[in-house]
């Protein structure tokens, strides 16, 4: 397979975009991406597109991308893989370019969570990912999916709610310099612990906000990369992993096997291991999910996450910063856009001009988990072609 690189990246701010529809956000992200291409982009070069969108607010997703961006003469495929949608869209585009089928393709991720009332969103979104006879009617709302894991994780591991709070505090701090982030203010461990309970053990400040937004990447083959930039970010590895859909069928709820499988595939493709990752964007929809993911991604030993986050290793300035952008927790989480936006952040980091720059990083990892907890996608990016 050919080597594949990202040569342009852009995104809208993540926030409650009540004033903008999906047909505004998608072209905004694509245009910002186009503006980031060092040597310029002629849109006529784009040969195909993959559009990650979890739900749709104004109709047929692939058509919305083509129409709103005036890309009427290329094939567009919608990717939907729960909260792993974004990195799975990257994965599909990567294979299309690596195979030789295309040289220049577009990846867009977007979602508009705040297009329906917060009251109806609850059930509309829940129905996407539940067994309608068995799990939907018992009231398994979104935070409860992950809280079932977190409760067991706290029971078995040395981690406490304080360690979960450290994740939230860190990611809020990281978001402050990020102009695209939704929650740009610092919080304290005490505030996290005393916040109203949402779904125990998650308080309000352990949870991601509801967000709208879009993000876009230009993915090209090694054969044409020099037409666009002298500083590409290489897609070194992609991976996707699955797990049993229903929580009652997951044997060990202190781990996400989907993440373990996705990471194993991405590391193998990249020919590297977790020790080679300098920084990462990790799916932190709820604080404890970042802790569990440290272990599943191989950043630390099983049940070592509490000590690992407490050591400061994952704070910017530490050995392996995680979620320098603010993460889902503070940057925001429009699901289809989330994974693509993680790659936007890492593109900027690996080219040395991120808003919360991590110095000296060459290899980075992006991670999504969703479904709920039944699908994970991992992307390994590097400034080195390898």
């Amino acid at each position: 397979m050919r080597r594949v690189a990202i040569v342009g990246a852009g995104m809208t701010p993540f926030k409650e975009h009540f004033d903008l529809g999906i047909k505004d956000l998608v072209p905004m992200a694509v245009s910002e991406m186009a503006g980031s291409v060092d040597k310029g982009l002629d849109r006529a070069d784009i040969q195909a597109a993959w559009f990650g969108e979890l739900t749709t607010t104004d109709g047929f997703p692939a058509g919305i991308l083509a129409d709103s961006c005036d890309l009427m003469d290329i094939p567009v495929t919608r990717v939907e893989n729960a909260c792993a949608t974004g990195n799975d869209a990257v994965r599909n585009a990567t294979y299309a370019v690596a195979s030789g089928a295309f040289d220049v393709v577009l990846v867009v991720g977007a979602d508009k969570v705040r297009e329906s009332s917060s009251r109806s969103t609850f059930w509309e979104w829940a129905k996407l990912t539940r067994d309608v006879a068995w799990d939907y009617p018992v009231g398994l709302v979104a935070p409860a999916n992950f809280a079932l894991h977190a409760a067991r994780y706290l029971h078995e591991s040395p981690a406490t709610r304080e360690h979960m709070a450290m994740v939230a505090v860190k990611n809020h701090k990281h978001a402050v310099p990020n102009p695209k982030a939704q929650l740009r203010y610092e919080i304290t461990v005490e505030q996290v612990l005393s916040a109203p309970m949402v779904v125990a053990p998650f308080g309000l400040l352990d949870c991601t906000p509801q967000s709208d937004g879009a993000a876009a990447l230009l993915v090209v083959s090694e054969d044409v990369v020099e037409q666009y930039t002298d500083h590409p970010v290489w897609v070194r590895g992609v991976g996707l992993g699955l797990d049993r859909v229903m929580h009652q069928h997951k044997a060990d709820m202190t781990s996400f096997p989907a993440t373990v499988k996705a990471a194993r595939a991405a590391y193998a493709m990249a020919g590297i291991g977790p020790q080679d990752i300098d920084l990462a964007e990790v799916h932190d929809c709820f604080s404890a999910v970042e802790l569990i993911s440290y272990e599943d991604l191989g950043f630390t030993d099983r049940f070592g996450a509490a000590a690992y986050v407490a050591s400061g290793a994952t704070t910017v300035g530490g050995a392996r910063p995680v979620n320098a952008s603010g993460g889902l927790k503070a940057k925001g989480h429009p699901p289809g856009a989330t994974g693509v936006a993680q790659c936007v952040e890492l593109f900027e980091q690996l080219r040395g001009h991120a808003s919360n720059q991590v110095d000296g990083a060459t290899t980075a990892l992006a991670h999504n988990i969703g479904g709920p907890t039944a699908v994970s996608a991992v992307t390994v990016l590097s400034s080195e072609k390898g």
Binding site: A144, A151, R152, M197, V199, M253
Partner: protein, 410 residues
């Protein structure tokens, strides 16, 4: 003359203003199933004579609070009781006299169930063979009199709206006393069903014990309190039935100590809708509490699934009863307002005893937050939700908590 093989009672755990009340996940059907299971489980465990309740030949459910007037309660009733879906069911609207009439007139093998919502409680009576009269433990009833009069102090029509004339003196003088007079009993009753403690005391010379309910189930609570020679009057507004009780029934009670009704808050929201095909496919496993057992290798799957996780067979599966006890593997407490729901509530994943089956269920009978990882409990039929007008029944975890649980306050 009918005989009683046994009597079962059930009271919900919740209490409000001195009366038992249903939880949000209970209705007359789940109450009746709980009483029926108390009786049948009791008969199975308490007998060495093969008195296992498996010979229930028909079911009569009497209530003025039937969940559905149309759409049917019978299938869920049979499934919840673990009875074959070939068993005839009579769904009858009625109060205390109707239940006594049902008991005295029922054929052998009839399970008579009665359930009330306000105050809440339920009872079950299994009718034995007439020739069992005199057999060990058998109890018979002989009717002394019956009168049916009209004094609709309280009335409820097809719209479900309750009208109350609100005149307890009129009810007592021209309803209760007139009906009792018409019965022309030789001695005052010693058990009175259908009346609250004060009038029951007045008509029984202070002998009738206080009963926890006022509707049809109060007749069963009266039978549960009976000893040989008691005279039972079951009354409702202007009607009454009297019977004398020969023997002392075997009673199996599921009557937990009361707890104050957990405080919850409700959030208005959209009806979450139901897929009736999905409901219909899941019904037997959910309501009977049975897993799919692989026909090739016996591996259990809950819910049942086409392809066996152990051997890969897709040749078919059969329903197999699941254990009704287990241990909490993990749990959550939902505090955030959920549209269309009462919050807070708890969900648990329960490892069922002696199987590798885990199940995700709601937690019942304790305040939210009272159950923790490692706690044990049993699985009981509850109303999971009412969706698009359809009661959606399933099983919930009732924790075995010995102490008054320290739940989180609402």
């Amino acid at each position: 003359m009918s005989t009683l093989r046994g009597v079962g009672t059930y009271l919900p755990v919740w209490e409000n203003a001195g009366r038992r009340v249903v939880g949000r996940d209970e209705d007359a059907l789940t109450l009746a199933v709980a009483a029926g299971r108390a009786l049948m489980d009791g008969l199975r465990s308490g007998s060495v004579t093969g008195d296992d309740g498996d010979d229930v030949r028909q079911v009569v459910l009497v209530s003025r609070d039937l969940p559905l007037a149309e759409g049917g309660n019978s299938a869920a009733l049979l499934a919840g009781l673990g009875l074959a879906d070939t068993t005839p069911v009579v769904e009858q609207v009625g109060g205390a006299p109707a239940v006594l009439d049902a008991v005295v007139s029922a054929a052998s093998g009839t399970l008579v169930l009665a359930a009330d919502l306000e105050p809440a409680g339920a009872g079950a009576v299994l009718i034995g063979a007439e020739d069992a009269d005199g057999a060990e433990g058998s109890v018979s009833l002989r009717v002394l009199g019956r009168v049916t009069g009209s004094l609709p102090i309280t009335s409820r029509g097809r719209d479900g709206e309750r009208w109350d004339y609100d005149d307890s003196r009129l009810l007592f003088e021209r309803g209760t006393k007139k009906a009792l007079s018409a019965l022309a009993l030789e001695t005052p009753p010693t058990l009175v069903a259908g009346l609250s403690a004060k009038p029951a005391g007045q008509v029984s010379g202070g002998r009738a014990p206080s009963l926890p309910t006022l509707g049809g189930s109060s007749t069963v609570f009266a039978l549960a309190a009976a000893t040989a020679g008691d005279v039972l009057v079951a009354t409702e507004q202007g009607s009454a039935v009297a019977a004398t009780i020969l023997g002392s029934p075997r009673v199996h009670r599921d009557e937990p100590s009361p707890r104050p009704l957990a405080r919850t808050r409700s959030t208005p929201g959209p009806d979450i809708g139901i897929s009736l095909p999905a409901y219909e496919r899941a019904f037997a496993a959910k309501v009977r509490w049975e897993a799919g057992s692989c026909d090739a290798c016996g591996q259990l799957a809950m819910p049942p699934r086409r392809r066996c996780t152990a051997c890969g067979s897709e040749e078919g599966w059969s329903l197999s009863p699941l254990p009704r006890s287990g241990e909490v593997y993990t749990k959550v407490d939902i505090h955030v307002p959920v549209p269309g729901r009462e919050t807070p509530y708890s969900l648990a994943i329960v490892q069922l005893d002696d199987t590798d089956v885990r199940t995700l269920v709601t937690v019942t009978g304790v305040p939210a937050g009272a159950v923790d990882i490692g706690d044990r409990g049993r699985l009981v039929l509850r109303l999971v939700d009412v969706r698009s007008g359809v009661p959606d029944y399933g099983h919930a975890l009732l924790p075995d908590l010995t102490d008054q649980p320290q739940g989180e306050s609402a």
